[in-house]
Structure formats: structure tokens, C-alpha cells
């Protein structure tokens, strides 16, 4: 069976203009650079990495908030990369939704909860007010805002952060999408609220049969949420595989450093410092070699001469490193 979403060599370059003497030189930030992966039906696929690694850009490309520079996105066997308008785009908009990071900014302050959730219904042709009311009430109950009538006509400022994020989830789910891009949906929320939102998303997967692309910088959250995981560094996927496999046996030195840097909630445990050099630099016209080369503690001659390594299957997961599997 073909996957629900297949992404093939997806690339997004953002031009940055710089003046060098009188010449105007065009530089490009390689935000997403030749990324390929597939998300199966009902799966939660995680995208983790630090800020600026291109995970959010990838998410926005998938929901067509951005147009890719090159590459292909295939949804249910249909190439949607060049979809611009018309009924095909409308159908796509119904199948693919997004949940945003900031629940304070992703709701229109002048819309009531009902207005916000009913908007996609109206756009997708549900013109009967009674039906919209019924469906909004139904989805509100499903996202745990019960009884629905006490929440329906509140404004965002009358809701807590957790409740707002539930409204944002309801807006994404009300059209029964097949695929939802969730961009750090819990990172702005309080700790005691987060677990509830994560469990809600997991529950909705079961109830509605929806798949997620789950974007996060928090490896622990990714471990809790995701079936499979891809680690991104400066626009490239450096490691991909089943979540436990990637987190317990990381093969790429970047993944290893990332895991080593996560604080451990155990005061008796002394964590060794992560092995990584220097700081992240923006991927403006990056050299052809491995993106991680300047920061890699184990770089060999091969890494300095060869182009960026391809994703190669090692044990159960893919790694983009020449040294993986050599100790």
C-alpha cells in the first residue's frame, strides 16, 4: 500500500540579498534541502531538531503555506506539489490541516470559539447554520471542552492557554482531515497542561484515524508522541527511524549530541557533556560537504572531501553519516 504522504527531495530556498561592492549577489538560505520521507496512514511521524533546522518550513510546505523550490509532495498517490487553485486545491485543504505553536496568536481575537471552528466548515460549503452548530458542538465535546455551549461563544481572551489550544485543535479536526501538521502544539503551554493536550492528540488519532506530522524540539515529547522520527540539521534529515530505535541507539553524532544535551530529571544523575563543537550557523550557500562537518567531533578525511552523505539504511534506521556503522 502506498503511504498517505510521500515527500521526495523537497527543497526550499529563501533568497537573501546581500551587496558585495556594487554587485548584488543573491544568496540562498537552504531552509529545507532535499528532504524525503513518507508518512503512513494512522502514523505519527516526528520531525525534531533545533530552531532553524527547517522543521517548521517543512511543515508549512506540506500544508502548502509555502511553495517548494523543487521536489515533490504526494498525497494519497496524487502529486499536489503544483496545486494552485480550483476544486483540487479545495479538496486538498480539506484533507490536510495544521495546528500552530502559539495558541495566543493562532486564534482571531475577534472571533468567538464558534466563529473560529465553524469557519472551515463554511469555507467547505456547509451552509446550514444548524449543521455548523451541531458539528462545532460535536467537535468541542471531542476535544474535551464540555459542555460545548459554555465554550461556544467565548472569545479567546476568555480562555486559558490549554483551552485555546483545544479550540485550535478543534478547528483543524472539524473537517475530518486525513493528515495534520502539528507544529510544536505544546511548547507554549504549562507543564501540567501539556500532558492533556498530547493525550488528546493521541486519542483523536484513534477516533478519527488521522495521521500527524509532529514537529517538536523536545526529544522527550517526540518519544511520547511519535511512531517514527526524523532528526533534522540545517535543512537535511540526518537520521530517521522508529522512535525508540533512534533515541536508544542513535547513530548520527548530531542525534547523539542532541540526546546527551537533554537535562535529566534526576538530581543524582551526572550527565556527560554532549560531544559537539561550535554554534549553529545559518545555511546560507552551504558548502557541498556534510552539513554537520564544522561541528562534528569525529570528522574524518572522507567527510572533508565527499559531498553531504546520503541517508543509508543501518540496522533499523536511516543515517546520513559516512562513519555510521564503523564504531
Amino acid at each position: 500500500m502506498s503511504p498517505l504522504v510521500a515527500v521526495d527531495s523537497l527543497t526550499k530556498l529563501f533568497p537573501v540579498k546581500r551587496r558585495v561592492f556594487a554587485l548584488r549577489v543573491r544568496h540562498y538560505v537552504h531552509a529545507v534541502d532535499g528532504v524525503s520521507f513518507a508518512v503512513e496512514e494512522g502514523e505519527i511521524f516526528g520531525l525534531v531538531g533545533e530552531s532553524g533546522c527547517g522543521k517548521t518550513t517543512t511543515g508549512k510546505l506540506l500544508v502548502k503555506l509555502l511553495e517548494p523550490t523543487s521536489g515533490r509532495i504526494v498525497l494519497e498517490g496524487q502529486d499536489i506539489t503544483r496545486l494552485r487553485r480550483g476544486p483540487a486545491l479545495r479538496a486538498f485543504r480539506r484533507k490536510v490541516q495544521m495546528i500552530f505553536q502559539d495558541p495566543y496568536e493562532s486564534l482571531n481575537p475577534r472571533f468567538t470559539v464558534f466563529d473560529t471552528i465553524a469557519e472551515p466548515l463554511w469555507i467547505h460549503g456547509v451552509r446550514s447554520l444548524a449543521e455548523r452548530e451541531a458539528r462545532v458542538a460535536e467537535i468541542l465535546a471531542q476535544v474535551g471542552l464540555t459542555p460545548p455551549e459554555t465554550f461556544m461563544f467565548r472569545y479567546p481572551h476568555e480562555l486559558s492557554g490549554g483551552q485555546r489550544q483545544r479550540v485550535a485543535i478543534a478547528r483543524a479536526m472539524v473537517v475530518h482531515p486525513k493528515f495534520v501538521v502539528a507544529d510544536e502544539p505544546t511548547s507554549m503551554l504549562d507543564v501540567s497542561i501539556r500532558a492533556g493536550i498530547m493525550d488528546l492528540l493521541l486519542g483523536l488519532r484513534q477516533e478519527l484515524g488521522v495521521s500527524y506530522l509532529y514537529i517538536t524540539h523536545d526529544l522527550a515529547v517526540a518519544r511520547y508522541m511519535c511512531d517514527r522520527l526524523a532528526v533534522m540539521y540545517l535543512g537535511k534529515i540526518v537520521e530517521v527511524g522508529p522512535t525508540e530505535e533512534v533515541l536508544q541507539n542513535p547513530l548520527h553524532p548530531y542525534t547523539q549530541a542532541l540526546i546527551a544535551a537533554v537535562p535529566v530529571p534526576d538530581p543524582t544523575y551526572t550527565r556527560a557533556p554532549p560531544e559537539i563543537k561550535g554554534d549553529v550557523v545559518a545555511a546560507v550557500n552551504p558548502p557541498p560537504q556534510c552539513r554537520f562537518l564544522p561541528r562534528c567531533p569525529r570528522a574524518q578525511d572522507l567527510c572533508r572531501t565527499a559531498p553531504h552523505p546520503p541517508l543509508v539504511e543501518h540496522r533499523d534506521h536511516g543515517v546520513a553519516c559516512y562513519l555510521a556503522g564503523h564504531g
Binding site: E50, S51, S160, G162, Q163, D190, V191, S192, I193, R194, A195, G196, M198, D199, H217, D218, L219, A220, V221, R223, Y224, E244, L247, A257, L258, I259, A260, A261, V262, P263, V264, P265, D266, P267, T268, R271, P273, P274, I276, D279, V280
Partner: protein
Amino acid sequence: MPLLDVRELTLHYATKMGDVHAVDGVTFAIEPGEALGLVGESGCGKTSLALALLRLLPDNAKVLGGQILFEGVDLLRLPENEMRRVRWRGISMIFQAAMNSLNPVYRVGDQIIEAMQTHLNISYAEARRRVAHLFDLVGLAPELMDRYPHEYSGGMKQRAVIAMALACDPKLVIADEPTTALDVIVQDRILRRIEEVRRQLNMALLYISHDIAVIAEVSRRLGVMYAGNLVEFGDTVAIFQRPAHPYTLALMSAFPSLKGEKRRLRGLPGEPPDLLRPPPGCRFHPRCALATEVCRTQAPPYAEVEPGHCVACWHPQHRRCA
């Protein structure tokens, strides 16, 4: 004598809707050279508490009671000009939005030198030498002091701000979520830097965070705040191994973990209370599974469950955590 002794501090914000009970009856002490953690969710009063220690509260805040004894002197009674001396040389602060607290139009080094010269009465050359030393201490190349903030990355700015907080050799540094906006690898470096500097200079640290894992790594003792109350206080290891307050336990089980077995998370039902009208009795009772009649009506006593481990709860837990 403790370096900082906060006793029964109560602090409200006057708003049009009424008083916000931001900090209520908080008591704790910091020993010289100690690393103390303060953990709690947004709106629990931890930042207000930090600002109160420096007397940097907004105009509508009113301290209704309590004492803040710094080296035996009550800061709440100090005249403003003497407080100003305390602010850099006694207690300094690394703010939450530290990355934006550098002035973009001045060189980073000059900003620190200026602070030093106003507070320490030293020459420019001497101040420059000390900034170079501080930069070295926080892991920045001393040449960077003649650069502007926009030439720094986020992590570098954060380090410069830490250097600034250390500029006048304070006895206590308050760090309010200094790594929250940073990526884990940068966070790791900053945390290690802070710990190293703290040891070298033997200063006390009050580290405020919502992240219980970070607190576990940086602090020797810790306090847990909920809705303006200090609900648990004690040795970090003791609290992690034997959390006595149900909220502390909930915080620990609400965090997913990278290590060990994958377990189901238990979030808390409901939301933190509205501090305009805090619930009667224990402020945690509406969300607490163990709440009984007494929790709903009377505020719990703040008492020791074991030496040095205090908790404000009618039904303190013992050995419930693995």
C-alpha cells in the same frame, strides 16, 4: 546566618478587577554559595518573587507583609539609594528576556563597563580588564566585547548577559528562566557555564524555571511554587525521591522522559486558579485527587516532613515516587 532570608512575604498586584494574590506568605532562605532552584508554572508568582527581592516590581504591586533579609538587612525598608547599591553588588539578575536586554546601539563590552564604573568606582582600563576576564569566564572570546549585540548569536547574547550580571561580584545571582528560549545544546553549555562560574566565584544562585529537569541539574535545594504559595521546599534529592506535595508529584509525572521506560503521562485536571479570587483553603485543592473537607476550608500548615524538607499540605505523601 543565611545570605538571604525571606520571611512570610506577601505581595499583591492592584488591578481594576481587584487584588491579584501573586505571592502569599512565602518563607525560605538561601545560604552563601548555595544553588537554590525555584520551580513552578507560569503565573505561580516565581518571577514576582524574584522582582520583589530586587525591589523592581511594577507600580501597582504592593508588598503587604513579610521581610526580605539580605545579610541581615531588611531590603523592604532600605531607602532607594542604598537599594541601588545592593542591586548590582549584592544581588544581580539574569532576566527572562535576557537576549533583548542588551542595548543594540552600544558595544556589548561598553555596556558592561558602564555598569561597572557606576557601581565600583574603577578606571576604564581596569573595568576593561575585568570584562575580558568575565568574558573568558562565561566562554566568550574577549575580542567579542568590541562587537555589537546584533553580531552575537542567541547563546552568545545570553552569555554576555550572564557576564553582565557577574560584573560587580554579586553575592547572589537570580536567574529567571535564562535558557528557556534556547536550544538544548546551547542550554547545556550555559548551564554548565553558570555552574562553573558559581563554584569559582562562590556566589549563591537562585535559579527559576518551569523545567523540573533543569532544576534537578542545577540546584542543591529547591522550592516548588503553586498559585503564589511555596508548597514544598527542601533538598533536591529528597524532593525528587520523596515528593511530599501532590502538586510536586504531579509536576514530575507530567513530564515525558527520555530515559527509562516509556510511561503514560498524568496531566493535572483543570487549570491553575485565578489569583484574583484564589480558592479558599489549600489553593491546589480543586485539582488535587487527595483533597478532603479540611483542604477546602483551611490553608494547610507549612511543616517539616523530614529534617529540612517542608511541605504545605494536609495529606503529605511519603515514598510514593520510585
